[in-house]
Symmetry: C2
Subunit: 781 residues, 2 copies
Amino acid sequence: MKINANLSTESGWEIFEHNFIADHLIATGSNFLIGNGYLGYRGTFPEWRKDQYVGCFLSDTYDNADGKWTELCNVPNALYTLIKVDGEAVITSESLTYENDHKEHSYCRKLDLKQGLMSIRNCWTSKDGKRLMLKAEQFASYADLHLIPQRFELEVDRRCVLEIITGIDALVWDLHGRHLFDHSFSSGPDHLSVKVKTGELGTRIIVMEGLSIDGKKPFKQTISEAENQEGIFRKLAWELEAGEKLVLEKIMVVYSSNDLPDPGVAANHSLKNALEKGYTKLKADHTPYWEEIWFKTDMVIEGDLKAQTVLRFNHYHNFIATPFHSDCLPIGARGLSCQVYQGSAFWDQEIFNLPVYYYTKPEIARNILTYRYKTLDGARHKARELGYEGAFYAWVSGKSGRELCPSFFFTDVLSGRKIRNHFNDWQIHISPDIVYAIWNYYLATGDWDFIKKYGAEIIFEVARFLYSFAYFKKDKNRYELIRLVGPDEYHENVDNNAFTNYQARFSLHTALIVYDRLKEINPDYLAELLKRLNLSDEDYWQWEEMARLIYLPQPDPENGVIEQFRGYYDLEDVLPFRLEERLIDKSEYWGWPNGVAVHTRVTKQADVLQLLCLQDIFPPDIVKCNYDFYEPYCQHGSSLSPAVHATVAAKAGYIEQAYKYFMHSCMIDLAETNKAFSGGIFIGGIHTASCGAAWQVIAFGFAGIKASEEGISFNPVLPEPWHEVRFKVFYRAQELYLTISKASFSISAPSENSAPVQINAYGNTAVLQPGEMLLFKEPLS
Amino acid sequence: MKINANLSTESGWEIFEHNFIADHLIATGSNFLIGNGYLGYRGTFPEWRKDQYVGCFLSDTYDNADGKWTELCNVPNALYTLIKVDGEAVITSESLTYENDHKEHSYCRKLDLKQGLMSIRNCWTSKDGKRLMLKAEQFASYADLHLIPQRFELEVDRRCVLEIITGIDALVWDLHGRHLFDHSFSSGPDHLSVKVKTGELGTRIIVMEGLSIDGKKPFKQTISEAENQEGIFRKLAWELEAGEKLVLEKIMVVYSSNDLPDPGVAANHSLKNALEKGYTKLKADHTPYWEEIWFKTDMVIEGDLKAQTVLRFNHYHNFIATPFHSDCLPIGARGLSCQVYQGSAFWDQEIFNLPVYYYTKPEIARNILTYRYKTLDGARHKARELGYEGAFYAWVSGKSGRELCPSFFFTDVLSGRKIRNHFNDWQIHISPDIVYAIWNYYLATGDWDFIKKYGAEIIFEVARFLYSFAYFKKDKNRYELIRLVGPDEYHENVDNNAFTNYQARFSLHTALIVYDRLKEINPDYLAELLKRLNLSDEDYWQWEEMARLIYLPQPDPENGVIEQFRGYYDLEDVLPFRLEERLIDKSEYWGWPNGVAVHTRVTKQADVLQLLCLQDIFPPDIVKCNYDFYEPYCQHGSSLSPAVHATVAAKAGYIEQAYKYFMHSCMIDLAETNKAFSGGIFIGGIHTASCGAAWQVIAFGFAGIKASEEGISFNPVLPEPWHEVRFKVFYRAQELYLTISKASFSISAPSENSAPVQINAYGNTAVLQPGEMLLFKEPLS
C-alpha cells in the first residue's frame, strides 16, 4: 500500500522507503528517527557523518555556546561504520538492484512502528562487479534508555577483503556553536569510549561503543584514535569467501552527569550487561514496552490503510519525543530529532503532545505536567523581569523554565537586519494554556492529588500573573488584555485576542474552582499554600472579578463570527495565495513587523478555530460560521494548524474537510515538503506537535470526546473512507473500548473495571457498568 | 555681515543672496518666500516654471486628488515673465557681472524682512555681448491679501529688440495628483485671467493678472492662450535704445470660492483697484502692516548681527505662515511654502507657532485656537472611529479637522514596501497639547471669554477622550497610557511616555479648574454646556481621579533622570553617529518598525526635554540631569528639536549650549542642508515650527518668562556674544518692555498701561505700575 511515491506500508505497522533521495536527506533522517524520550537517534546510514546530519540528541543536556541559543547536545555517534570491499568504500545509501540472488529491489529503509525499530537493507556493487549485501537494524531501547543496539549483517558474492572502520565519530553537527569540549578517548578489549564536557555548564557526557562479531575472526584488528578529536575507531579486516556472512553487533551507550553522578561507571556497567545479553535478548527486553504502548494507545482504522499507517507514525513520534521517564524534562517542539527549537517546550507540549496521555497513559502526562511545577520559579522569574507578578511561563522552556526565546531571531532577508519578535514577552497564552492542560488532565484522570500537590500552585500563580498583566477599562467596566501575540504569530501587538482572553478566563475560573474545593476539603492545606505564596482572600476576589469582567469577544449577532482581535475585520481582505505573489524573497518571514501578512487577515494559524477546538462553549452553528469565515484566511504557516482545522471541521460537521486536514496533518513530516532552512536558519526535524495532534483529531474531532467531573461524552462521526475506528480510552482509571462504525457506536467496559462510568453520546446519558456495553445507533456522518 | 558663504545682511533687516546655486533651488525658493497668511509665493525667478518649483499656495483650498493625500492647491502663476533680447531668452538666475556700469557683483536676491519684500537684481549678457539689467520686486500684500504686486525694471546697454512673454502660467506643480480642472482663460484690455475648479470639492479659484507699462509703448502686443491649458500670455515687443529703461508693473490677484461666493467679481474689483493705485501706492498701503508686526514682536539683539538677522528671518516666516485673518484655518507645518505636510496643522501649531502671539498679538492666537474649536467635530469623529470618546484631534488637521494623516506614508527604501506608521492613531499627545496651549494662552492674556466660549468645550472633550483612552492598572492603583508615540517618533508603541502622561495630567487638571471656575462664576452656563455635551458630575469625578492617579514617571532618586517611557533604559546604549554607520541606504527612515533607531536610545527628538521645556515642575538640578542624560542620544531628526534643546539648556544654565542650539534652530532653513527629498517623497519647504520656536528660545529660555494667574515671572540669562536683548511682551493687555543686558535686567511699563503687573524676577516679586520701571541686578550668566 503506497503512502506516497517513495513510501509504502504492508501491515499498517511499518513504513518502507524504496529509493534513497538525496534531496530529502534531512527530512528522512528525522522521519526514520528512533528514540525513547531519553535520546533520539536520526535514521541515517552507517558511514554518514555530520554533513549528512547524523545526530544523537540527548535530553537534559541544555547548553549555551553562543550566548544566545540554549540547545540540547548532539553526542558523538557510536554507530559509525565505514565498510570497504577490496579497499573501495561502500556507500550504503546508493540504491542498487541485487538481481541475481534477490528478486526484489534491494534498497530499503524501514521504520517498524510496532517495535520501534529502524532498519536498512541494501546491495552495493563495486566497480568490478562484486556485490555486498548489507542489512542493519537498530533501536533505542526502552528497557535501558541509555542503549542503542544495532545488528549488522554483511554478505559478499565473491571472495574479497572486507574491511570496516567502526567506532565513535566525535565530529558532531551543532546549530549554534560548539558544545562539547575536553574530549578524552579510551578503549578496552571490547569497548571504545569518548568522554566530553559541555562548554557552558560542564555537564559530563560519556558515549561508549561495544562490538561483538558473530562469524569469522578478522585477520587484522587495530584501534586508532583519529586526530583533531575526530573520534576513536577500530579497523577490522576479513578475507571473506563468496556467500560468507558476517554478523556484527554494535552497542551504543550514552550517559550524562545529569543522569547520575558517575556516568562512566554506569555506562561501563550498561555496556557490559548489553554485550553479555546480545542483540536478540536486548530486543526481546525492549519490545514489550512498545507492546504496552500500543495496547493502550493504538487506534485501529478499518478501510484506510494509509490513514492507519500515518496515524501510527505520528503516535510513534509523539511517544519517542516524550521524556516519560522524568518529571523535570519537557517535550521538545522537534522532539529529539535535532536541535531546532532548542529541545524545549512551547505551548505545543500542553495543547498538542499531552492530551493523548490523559486518556491512555496518564502517568506520563503527570510527569510532564510536573515539569511545569518544577519550572515554576523560572516562570516567576520571567514575570518579575517583565514587571508582572505570578508565573509567566517561558515561550521556550528548557530545564530551568527560564525564558530561552531570544528577542531577536528572525532575519529580515531583504535587509539582513535582525527582527525583534515578541514571542517571548507578548505571547502570554502559554500560561493559561498550561492551566487549561492541568485542568483537562484532571477532568480525564480525576487525579486530585496532582492538583493539590502541584496544580494548585501553578494555577494560582498564573491567575496572579493574569491579574497583574490585565488592564481595567473603567469606562467599559471590563478587564482587557493588551498587546498580545496569539497562536497566529503573524499578528503581533494585538488587543483582546479572542483565544488569549477566553483561555485567560478559563484559567481564572479554574483558580476559583480549585480554591473553593481546597477550602472545602482541605482548608488547612489551602491556608498553608496561601501563606507560602503570600496570597489572601483578596487575591481570590480579584480573580473572581476579573473572571467575571474580562472582555470576551462575542459572536457577531449578524453572522456568528468572533473577531480574532480588536481591529481584525479592518485588515486587508486578501487570501494567502495572493500574498504569496507579494513576496520579494521566498524565504521572507510573513509576520511582524513588516511581512506581507501583517496588515491583512491572513493568519499563520486560526486563533478563533484554535479556541473552538479547545473550549466547547459555543453551539455547532457558531463553530460552523467561524470555520467558514476563518478557514480561507489561514496560510497554515504553522504545522499545528491543519490538525486544529481537522478537529473543528469535524465539530462543525464538515467531515470531508476534517478528513482532508487530518491527512494533511499526519503527512506533515512524511510529505517531505517542509523547508529544512528558513531565512538561513535550520528548521528541519520532526513536527512533534502535529504528531501528538493526530490522536486528538480522532478522539476530540471524530469521536467528540469530552471529559467532565460527571462523566465522559462522545459525539462520533466517521469520514467516508473509514469503515470502523476502534480504540481505548481511560476515563478516571476505567477502561472504555470504543467502536465507531458506519452504522453504530459502541462503548464497552471490561469486567475488570472498578466503577461504572456515566456516558453521554449524542446527548443521551447512560451508565456503563463494568463488563457491559452500550450501543448507540445514531447516524454517524 | 556674513550669514553663511552665500548669504549676508547689512542692517539685520534683510538677507542678501550673492550667488545663485542651482543645487539649493528648492531651499532658496522657500527661504525667499513672500506671503501673508492667505497665500505664499515662492522666491523664484520670473521665467521659471513648475520644474523649478515655482508655486503660489493658497490657504483654504484643501483638495484630495489621489484618494490619500489632501493638500492645498498650487494656483496658476501670474508672475510668469520670459524676456528675450533680440530673440535670445534671458535666464534671470544666471549670475553675471555688469562691470561697466556697476562696480558690484550684479546678481542679488534679497528678502526684506522689515517690509516683507522679495527682490532680485541681475545683469544678463547675450551671446553677442549685449547686456540687460533686470530688477524686480514683489510682495504679498497685507493690505489686500489677494494681491501680489510686482515691479519690473529693465535696461539694455545697446539698441535691441526686447520681447517679453508675460501672463499666467497654468502648468502647476503638485505633490499628490492634479487638483485643478476646467480651466477657462480670458483676457481684457488690461487683464488676463484663469478660472479653475478643484477636482474633489469643486472649489472655484480665479487668478488674474494685470500689467501696466511705464515707458515706451510696445510696437507689438498680442495675447495668446497657450495650448493644453498651459496658460494665457501676452507677447510684447519694443525696440529699445542703449540705456533706455522700461518699467513694468504686474499685479497678481487670487481668490477662491471659499473666500466669498463670487470670486470672479471680487478679483476683477481688486485688480482694477490695484492697477489704479499702482505699485508704489500698493506698497505704501502694505508696509504699515509689517511696521505694526515688528513694533509688537521684534526682539533686538545687540552685539550679534547674525543672530539678530536669522531671528527676524524666523519671525518673518512664522508670521507669513499664519492665517491670522481667519478663525477656521490652521498654520501649516510648512506654512504656505509648498504642499508638504498638506498645508495642515500638527501639534507644531500649538507648541511652536502660537506662543509668540500670546505675548505679542493675542488676537491672532485666539483666531488660530478658535480653529481648533471649529474642528472639534473632526476630533470627535476621529475618537469615535477609533473607539474612544471625546475629542482626539487629528495628527494632520486641515479645515474640517478630520484626520488627514494616512496610515501608510513612509516607504521602506530597502524593500520598496509601504510602512505602517502610527502617527495618526497612537500619537495622542496632540489633544492635551491643544489644552496646554489654550490654558497658556489664557494665562498670558487673561482671555476668559475665549475659555468660556470655546476653550471649555475643547478642554472637557479632551478630558473625556483621555479618560476613555486610559487603562487602569488595578494591581498598581494607577491609570496608564498604553501604546503611544511621543514626539520622539522613532519609538512607537511605547507605554507611559513621560511627555504624554504629564501633558495628559496637565490637561485633566485644566478641565477641573475650568469646571470649578465656571461652576463658581457661571453655573447656568456650565449646566447648559454639560447638558449639551452630555456630561455630568460623574465625569468630573472620573477626571479628578485620573488626574490624581495617572502614572507619572518620577526622576530616578539616584541620578534624577526621568525615563522617557517604560523600558527606555533597556534599549541599546548607542549614539546617533554610530547608528548612521548602520544605515544601508542614506534615505532610510530611522524609526518604526525596523529602522536603525528603534531598538536603541537614539531619539528623533528628546521627549523628556520637551516636557521640561513646557512644564516648569522640576527644579533646575533635575532639568540639568535630564539634559545631560538625553542630549547625547538626540539625533535631531525633527526640526523642532534644536529649539527645545536651546530652551532647556538655558533653563539648566548651559548658556553656551543654549546659544549653539538657538543658532542651529534659527539656521534650519537658511543652512540649506535639509534634504528636499526623503524616501522618494518631496519634503522641501519652510520649517515653520522652528521659525515660531526662535522667539520662544529667547522668551522662555533666555528670559525665562512664565505667566500665571497672579503675574508674570522672569529668569533672564544672556549668551556670551550678546550685549543686550530688548523686546516687548504683553501680559494681560499690559505692555512690558524688557531689557536684558550683561549687568542688569529691566522691565518698564508705558504710562498708557491700564493696570499694575505683578512681576517676579530671580524669585523676587514686585509690582510694576504704569509708567514705571523695575531694575534687577542679579548676575545674568
